[in-house]
Symmetry: C2
Subunit: 173 residues, 2 copies
């Protein structure tokens, strides 16, 4: 029962589908236009969900917003600061928690493990996928999840963000 | 020295950047519109380069065209049929071979290993990337290659191929 809660994935990938080179890789390779879009989206969201690595690499822009950080370092739940809640998603029902907090519009920012968690439960309502015209060759994929079946989405819009050709794709379930 | 030879990658991926679920996965998940585009491109090409797995899963549409199949099953080179040449890319210079055959417009169709071979040598002039609005969750990536540096391309065009939202991105070096 996730009704009334909307889960959005907001992510930038290379044209070869990588979200980062490795777990400590800060997203300094994404375009200015993508960052502007991201911050507009975050301003509209009630809460951001990230993994602990993503939180650590982006702590400055995230620390002033309502954040839920997925981590195995806590058993169930721990209030880390006024805005930041650490939870262990294996031991707590995230949708029940969001309901209790009356959070409705949720932006999921990664990384792979967190994206895969929501994909595996088929909870993703909308995907905002920026594709930067760059190739890493290797790195972290968007998802790493065994699914029972392929998931089909619909492309709602395409937007070219700049001259070099960063594009923003919006998919809905 | 690769002058006068143009290497194009033509590939379809899921929105999570996978080219197939596994090595034996035939591309039955790509849209009709992508297949039409692919065959138009192949009609214009002098030669197709594929790996042995890709060749085996697509032998019917490929067998009537000039094909070079990358494989470790031959030592250097072997004429497998009138149109099909098996070569071991570790033991022969592919650009010299193409020059000798006067092939100029080359379409590389995969899989991951063959794409990565050309990426690693920075030989890819143009990429035709179809993104289907589907998610596999796991599977084979477009590339698996350690690069010395990120490679930047430019987006030349975006085309929406159908209603559900398959898109064709054309990148140039």
């Amino acid at each position: 029962m996730k009704k009334n809660i909307k889960f959005n994935i907001i992510v930038a990938t290379t044209l070869d589908g990588k979200i980062a080179k490795n777990h400590n890789h800060f997203s300094d390779w994404t375009s200015k236009e993508d960052k502007i879009f991201l911050h507009k989206m975050l301003d509209k969201s009630d809460c951001i969900i990230v993994g602990n690595n993503t939180y650590k690499t982006s702590i400055k822009p995230l620390s002033k917003r309502n954040c839920i950080v997925f981590t195995k370092s806590v058993k169930i739940i721990k209030q880390a600061s006024t805005n930041c809640l650490y939870i262990n998603p294996n031991n707590i029902d995230i949708t029940e928690l969001l309901k209790a907090k009356k959070y409705k519009n949720i932006d999921i920012l990664g990384g792979t493990e967190v994206f895969s968690y929501f994909l595996g439960k088929n909870l993703i309502d909308e995907i905002y996928l920026t594709i930067e015209p760059i190739i890493f060759g290797t790195g972290l994929p968007l998802f790493q999840a065994d699914l029972n079946q392929n998931l089909c989405y619909k492309l709602k819009s395409i937007k070219k963000l700049n001259k070099k050709g960063s594009i923003l794709l919006n998919y809905i379930k």
